[in-house]
């Protein structure tokens, strides 16, 4: 198929960006979206132009590096996938596709489609861990039975890949789905109880400090999340915060 791409180009974080049009031809429907971008970039390199910079790494939907906003949706029109798993069969010959970076005050653009997600790092550093020494001198793993239900729910929350699609999608640029998932993983497990109150308070305080917006229960984040992280995690985080505050 032949396509027109409207892509956000921005030299660096200080430069003013703009949308630029490109044409690509003979795109196979079996290509992934990023392979289509590879084709474009090969074309640009061969004609001496600078290729479009975009983040990507594992290309199997787990590292959370890729981050495009495609036709007004984080990770594009398919559900439950990252951009690297999005396939061109979702598009038609002759389509025009708009490609922008994830936009949020707390995710400044570094170049073209690449954004800075260090705000997520600092939130995790504020409390996204259990304070246990990595000495190996812990108790036997099976001395602490955990109900299958709790373990499964914690696993569902822990599935978050930290890509930031929830933030990019939210009209308030809220990071609550991301933070809620991490808080929930530990809140659901007995190992996480000791530090639960401090954890949620510190992580939420850092989230606010980074300039993420608040949650108004629109639920768009849940729809666009490539890993199906549920809104329940936001409710649980609020409950944990309430519990920690009284």
């Amino acid at each position: 198929m032949n396509l027109t791409l409207k892509i956000w180009r921005q030299k660096d974080s200080n430069a003013k960006g703009q949308m630029v049009d490109y044409k690509v031809t003979e795109i196979s429907e079996h290509m992934s979206f990023l392979e289509m971008m590879d084709v474009l970039n090969e074309q640009l390199v061969n004609s001496g132009e600078e290729p479009v910079a975009f983040d990507h790494d594992c290309r199997e939907g787990i590292c959370g590096m890729c981050s495009m906003y495609i036709n007004g949706e984080a990770h594009g029109p398919d559900r439950g996938v990252t951009t690297c798993q999005l396939h061109m069969r979702m598009f038609k010959d002759g389509d025009t596709i708009t490609i922008e970076p994830f936009r949020a005050a707390a995710f400044p653009v570094i170049k073209d489609l690449i954004v800075d997600r260090n705000s997520f790092e600092r939130i995790q550093q504020a409390g996204g861990y259990i304070s246990v020494n990595t000495s190996g001198n812990t108790q036997d793993a099976n001395s602490l039975p955990i109900s299958k239900h709790a373990a499964d729910e914690a696993m569902d929350a822990a599935t978050c890949i930290g890509c930031g699609a929830c933030v990019a999608t939210c009209k308030n640029s809220s990071a609550m789905l991301f933070v809620g998932a991490k808080v929930s993983q530990y809140a659901l497990l007995p190992q996480g109880q000791v530090e639960a109150a401090d954890r949620v308070k510190n992580m939420v305080a850092q989230m606010d400090l980074e300039g993420f917006g608040n949650c108004t229960n629109t639920g768009a984040c849940e729809v666009e999340c490539p890993k199906g992280i549920s809104l329940d995690n936001i409710a649980r985080m609020n409950r944990e915060l309430m519990k920690a505050s009284i």
Binding site: Q85, E121, I130, G136, P145
Partner: protein, 670 residues
């Protein structure tokens, strides 16, 4: 220099304990004055950074991604082995040790493997304490599954995302230390050289990938944990950015590179579909617990399927060739990876491949779905369930076990694997070879360590499933933190290492000159052009099966590609900005050297062992006809190569492998 593996004396089961009792320690007050650089933040680098920081050292950690959590360990799916014997099925430290040495086709170092098996149980305890949500049974205890090449269930897992959960565990431990200021994290940085002062590794030169700035970082020791080099094949299951650069740079500065030809070609990957393809996707080996691998028995059916006239589900049991069950009745679909891959290639080379390219076999879940469905019907007291009901119940169980893998397959191939068998084909996945290290995990450069997939030590010529995660975390959490202390004990009075020295100056200049060359070279071809060309040579001539003539051609062809690369490569953009093409150029330049050494190593090793199959060395008759034939008299050694300029001039050093606790036998899975 003679290779000294520094394996402690004494019985194998006491070596590690005795060693720990006798090494030098650094007191906590002195640790505060010692800096350690860790390159890479996957399971090995992440766990090492966290533990070293916890012990009190000042750690500087480097990752080329925007967060340590994105290192490619995250993509590991199936699980992690540990000799816990929770299932009471006869597992033990010795048995895990034995399986790993046998699985590696007797080409690993016994003492290292025993130590790995010994600390494996601690890893699970550690990870549970950190909040890693492993799968559990209804009693609340940890669940296990089985992997290829073993007869027990010792694999712990978190759905199909075990690597992700273990890495997030290590990442959380890192975050705790980053918050305390004990780890200084350098995201979006790439190590481009090691700096050696007075014969010791004392720092690195790194490039800030956002600004392009070249930075000098000093430390008392350097740890390389940069993963494997499977991307030398261009197409692999590795991440796009996975590279050999850190390992290759230390090789060029004196670290020997061992067994580069030991590559794991994983049997269950999604087949390639076209020339545009950028990478291959793995379908976890855990699927072979329940999936059965087959191709049609009759050529007519193969052709009918390729032409779309028949569907795989149209074929009766009698018309299918479950070739692994046929050839290897004892292990069946759970033979080790190298064996399963070669068997798939054998069928496809004979013309039985089931897709348009002729390079695909089926992985079928219909039997498992029926088996689980029947069991569920019994559990739920459903009498005379219909086939549809059984299918529905069974599908739920399979979905709970492998749901994310099935979804991934469906998104890529656009077929529903619950209804039609998956198509799979082998692909490059892991490299057992790597930087040579002694028992302390130190390279032949004093003060320079190498851990995880980047080193060569534990998997011999073939790695068993669920052992990579085990090795990464064992090295980082439990081995390196001891061994590095023994070395650093001599450095308590050294003080801060200055970066204003001629050694740093020279290393920085070398790095800058190369970058300047790339951005100024007016070539005509993209980096990917050369990378793809290299990958094709590697796959065709140094892939799943190798022979003397092909390997000689490969060496010559790779050299020619390298020469053309240095004339014709074109890198747009500048050096003082974010420039992904420039990053790729540096990595491919190193792959072009490694590739030739790889072929040279494969040519030297005139035996078949593990993932390295030399066509000249196969069993000619008897029950093992066609299977790999090892040559223990002449090749029971690790091949450590010393850099001498051109890869073809590398000098071989042999570390003879002694097997005192395991009898050398032919590896049979029949």
């Amino acid at each position: 220099m003679a290779l000294d593996s520094k394996v402690p004396k004494g019985p194998i089961k006491d070596k590690w304990t005795d060693y720990k009792n006798k090494i030098n320690l650094v007191n906590p007050a002195n640790k505060r004055h010692i800096d350690v650089i860790v390159v890479g933040t996957g399971l090995a680098g992440g766990s090492a950074s966290a533990t070293l920081a916890e012990l009190g050292y000042n750690v500087k950690a480097f990752a080329y991604q925007d967060s340590p959590r994105r290192a490619h360990s995250i993509a590991a799916q199936g699980g992690i082995n540990a000799a816990k014997n929770y299932q009471g099925d006869g597992d033990s430290t010795y048995r895990l040790f034995y399986d790993t040495v046998k699985g590696g086709d007797y080409r690993s170092r016994e003492a290292n493997v025993y130590r790995l098996a010994e600390v494996s149980a601690n890893i699970i305890d550690q990870c549970v304490a950190q909040g890693v949500p492993f799968a559990r049974d209804y009693g609340g205890l940890l669940d296990n599954r089985s992997f290829g090449g073993v007869l027990v269930s010792r694999t712990f897992y978190a759905k199909g995302q075990t690597g992700q959960q273990l890495l997030l565990g290590a990442y959380s431990a890192m975050n705790r230390q980053i918050a305390r200021g004990k780890i200084e994290m350098f995201n979006r940085h790439e190590m481009l050289d090691v700096v050696i002062v007075d014969g010791k590794a004392r720092g690195i030169i790194a490039r800030n990938l956002i600004t392009g700035e070249i930075e000098r970082h000093s430390a008392h020791a350097v740890v390389v944990a940069s993963g494997g080099y499977g991307n030398v094949y261009f197409l692999s299951t590795n991440a796009m950015g996975s590279n050999v650069t850190a390992g290759w740079k230390i090789h060029k500065k004196g670290a020997y590179f061992a067994n580069p030809c030991y590559t794991q070609i994983h049997p269950t990957c999604i087949p390639r579909s076209g020339d545009y393809q950028s990478k291959l996707t793995l379908m976890s080996e855990s699927l072979r617990n329940d999936g059965r691998i087959w191709v049609p028995k009759n050529m007519d059916d193969v052709l009918a399927i390729r032409e779309g006239k028949k569907k795989p589900t149209d074929l009766s049991e009698a018309e299918r060739d479950y070739y692994l069950e046929r050839r290897y009745p004892a292990f069946g679909n759970l033979v080790p990876r190298d064996v399963a891959s070669r068997a798939a290639k054998e069928r496809c080379d004979a013309g039985y491949g089931v897709n348009a390219t002729g390079e695909a076999v089926y992985l079928d879940f219909a039997s498992a779905i029926t088996r689980y469905g029947t069991e569920q019907a019994k559990i739920h007291n459903i009498n005379n369930p219909s086939d549809a009901k059984i299918y529905e119940l069974g599908q739920k169980i399979v979905e709970a076990k492998y749901g994310n893998l099935f979804q991934m397959y469906e998104k890529i191939v656009d077929q529903n694997p619950y209804e039609t068998p998956m198509m799979i084909y082998p692909a490059v996945h892991y490299t057992m070879g790597g930087v040579w290290v002694d028992y302390n995990l130190m390279t032949t450069i004093p003060g320079c360590y190498c851990i995880g997939e980047a080193n060569f030590s534990d998997h011999g010529a073939n790695r068993l499933g669920a052992s990579a995660l085990m090795q990464g975390l064992a090295d980082g959490y439990f081995v390196l933190p001891y061994t590095i202390g023994d070395y650093l004990a001599d450095d308590i009075r050294t003080g801060k290492i200055s970066t204003e020295t001629p050694e740093f100056e020279a290393a920085e200049k070398e790095v800058k000159d190369r970058i300047d060359f790339f951005v100024n070279n007016k070539g005509t071809k993209s980096v990917d052009y050369f990378h793809k060309k290299l990958g094709k040579v590697m796959w065709d001539k140094a892939g799943m099966s190798r022979n003397e003539a092909g390997l000689k051609e490969a060496m010559a062809e790779i050299k020619a590609i390298r020469e053309e690369f240095w004339k014709e490569v074109s890198v747009p953009g500048g050096s003082d900005e974010l420039n992904p093409e420039l990053e790729k150029a540096g990595r491919v330049a190193d792959f072009l050297e490694l590739g030739e050494l790889f072929a040279k190593d494969a040519l030297m090793r005139e035996e078949s062992c593990g993932g390295h199959f030399r066509e000249e060395s196969a069993e000619e008759s008897g029950p093992q006809k066609g299977e790999a034939k090892r040559d223990d008299v002449n090749f029971a050694f690790a091949a450590a190569w010393e850099y001498k300029g051109e890869p073809a001039d590398a000098v071989l050093h042999k570390e003879e492998l002694e097997f005192n606790d395991i009898e050398l036998k032919q590896r049979s899975y029949k």
